[in-house]
Amino acid sequence: MNAAAVKSPGLSVDDRLNPILVKEVRQALRGRYFRALFWLTLGVATLVGLSVTAQFGAHSLSESAGEAFFMVMFACLSAAVQGFTPFSAFLSTSAEWDENTHDLLVLSNLRPRQIVYGKLLSALVQALLYYSTFGPFLVFAFLLNGVDLRVIVVILAGSMAVCTSLTLLGVAAASLSPAKAPRILLMALFGVVLMIAWGMSLSVAGVLIDSPQVLRDPMALTGVGAFICSALVAGAFFAALAVARLSHEEENRSSGMRALSAALVLLAAGWGAWFNGRFGEHQAIFALQLGVVAPLALMWLFFLTEPERLGRHVEQHVSRNPLLAFLTLPFLPGGGRGALLMAFHMCAALLGAKLALALDPPGPLQANRTLVVILAFYAYAWVYIAAPAAFASWFVESARGRIVVRMAILALLPLVLLGPPLAGLLFSIPSWIDFLHPFNPVWAARELIDRGTNPLGMALLWLGLGVAVLMNAPRMAHGMREVFVASRRRRERSAAQPPQS
């Protein structure tokens, strides 16, 4: 055969490129979807931009013309980078199932994270094409005056972060099910999410253009930083989810997510410290910690209901060093080790809050309340998630059973929240009808903040936490023992191997 016919330039940079990126870009440039959408977006933007300019007239191009022109361009650009691009990532991942190429990818040397990042990178290349194409239009809008450069930079940075996060969400959503019907449902849901995100982006851009002075406030800039950071962390979460879904059954699907969940707690502590140290906003410390409890709760639900046994493949990779094995304990898969991770999160959140409070101490009473509020939220999580998960682990072993347990625990929360109001209706307890009851963790937090601790409340809190921890104690111990045994076996095996010359 003709050697030149095989198109694979032998540049070393080319060799280092992610294969998925190379394939997807080639496919996109050859396919109709990207080309059609690209020219359509550009055409619509040009037409609408021209009509806006014409409406204001060449002699009356004022600041409002610049604002309107920018908004039109940003609407088209964000539709492309926050809508079409993530959606194409969803379709591309979905196509791996539909075109029967998923197995072929899994069998190759590509690791699941390379597949996910390849999808992300190819989406970002597409987004960069849109950004570079709309660049001159945005410069024109800036030259028309009316839009602050700082606003443009913030809006574009935000849109890039949202594009990254949504693309990874698309990849994660498409990797959830190989069956077509659930994926069609997921596609519809994802479409709705994209529409909402687009609408919100336009609203935020509108607000920033109308009040650019907001961005001169350091607190607001910190908020922008926190938003971008949160979007990227959410993206990392979606990436970890997609990687887990694409991994081999026997491989470690849990540690990535566990590490990320720990990073989330530390990140919340870091931002809390920044807000308290810089602006004296000590309430931000618990607000941020409580904010991350919602995504963490979803993760705990999965970690705590994982099979207890370490897979044979994971066992081979437990550290030989006992200290390292101990330190990695909460990050290895298994329900009992999930409970250990939850304990680790709780300690990290409390320690992080204590350190953050030390930067600008608000007074002993306030400091104590901050810590108690965080503790209370974790205690509720232990009672609502860890205790039923431990109970279920005594009976349920099958994969299907674990799905049922997860659904049941998810259903438990609305039940304990809605049950007391119904009881309140029956027995005429007005506060319970208004969700002001002790089963509601938000009510408990508000009570603790507004009225401080009371002995009965604290006793119940400690009791709930204690019972939940005790219920999980046997499997935590088993989880620790299993890791230490695996570590010792590896040490023994390496000691038995003859030394290599």
Binding site: G10, P19, E99, H248
Partner: protein
């Protein structure tokens, strides 16, 4: 040495035991036919060998590597060709092979060299710029085989590679598979076209309803299952008279009409067979053809399996 070693593998989906404690092996240079009716558990077994499904119990060793303990290492030694062909839209053969060569970690000149070799082996050289969507089924199978060969696997698992191919494409595929075996690869191949398998396989494994029904070298399997001799009788008296006469004879079973004669199984030894021939010659049936038929994989398959689906 067994390059593919399946040890007591079981797989259950819900209440269905798809594969039940199966054990077999394939050695270097051997082509092992994997036969069984639809739903017997062939694809599940092959997917477990390829690390795509996890066995509930047991293990599979590929070139001595456990698919459970080191799936990633095992994959480097496996070339799996699934029954459902995987192709990307808007992709040419050249781009497709280039992508998978990259995915297998091949770089620069080595990648180009490997692609050249597999393209030459599968005779795809003239089609490199063609989009995959426009290829015939036979060409797609060749492309899939080319992709499977990119990383030079020691073990090849081919799930129904001849399904839907025309006779010429089937013959070509058979020659390619034989050539691969001559290179020292262990090949496990499933097919419903048993005549194809019997022509290329050195051993077979028969599975039904998840259970191993038999296995070994083709000749051994045929011999071990030949407790009876397949005979065919054609006589001027007609098949009806033949059938009537044969049913009266001892050691004769499964008498059935075929074309203008009668096929039947004879359970006696050579002496009894000679006596039967003499009797038939003197019986007034006026036999014009009395032949011993060689058993083939199809007969073995039919006698081993009941054809029930799970």
């Amino acid at each position: 040495m067994k390059l593919l070693d399946v040890r007591g593998v079981t797989k259950t989906f819900g209440k269905l035991k798809a594969v039940d404690s199966i054990e077999f092996g394939v050695e270097a240079g051997q082509i092992c036919g994997f036969i069984g009716p639809n739903g017997a558990g062939k694809t599940t077994t092959m997917r477990m060998c390829a690390t795509l499904e996890m066995p509930d119990t047991g293990d599979v060793y590929v070139d001595g590597i456990s698919v459970l303990e080191e799936p990633r290492l095992a994959r480097r030694r496996i070339g799996f060709m699934p029954d459902s062909y995987g192709a990307y839209a808007n992709t040419t053969i050249s781009d497709y092979l280039d992508f998978f060569a990259r995915a297998y970690g091949l770089t620069g000149a080595k990648r180009r060299g490997v692609i050249e070799r597999v393209v030459e082996f599968t005779s795809l050289g003239d089609l490199l710029d063609k989009e995959i969507g426009s290829l015939s089924k036979g060409m797609k199978q060749r492309l899939c085989l080319a992709k499977t060969l990119l990383h030079d696997p020691a073990v090849m698992i081919l799930d129904e590679p001849a399904a839907g191919l025309d006779p010429r494409a089937r013959v070509e595929l058979r020659e390619l598979v034989k050539a691969l075996a001559q290179m020292g690869k262990a090949i496990l191949i499933s097919s419903h076209i048993l005549t194809e398998l019997s022509e290329m396989c050195s051993s077979v494994v028969v599975i039904e309803r998840g259970q191993l029904k038999g296995g070994g070298a083709v000749a051994d399997v045929v011999r071990s299952f030949n407790s009876t001799t397949q005979l065919f009788l054609r006589a001027l008296a007609g098949p009806e008279a033949c059938e009537r006469r044969l049913l009266e004879s001892p050691n004769v079973a499964k008498v059935r009409r075929e074309r203008d004669g009668v096929a039947f199984e004879f359970a006696g030894g050579l002496d009894s067979q000679a006596e039967l021939f003499a009797e038939l010659a003197q019986s007034g049936l006026r036999p014009i053809e009395l032949a011993v038929r060689d058993s083939n994989l199809e007969d073995i398959f039919l006698s081993l399996t009941e054809g029930k689906l799970q």
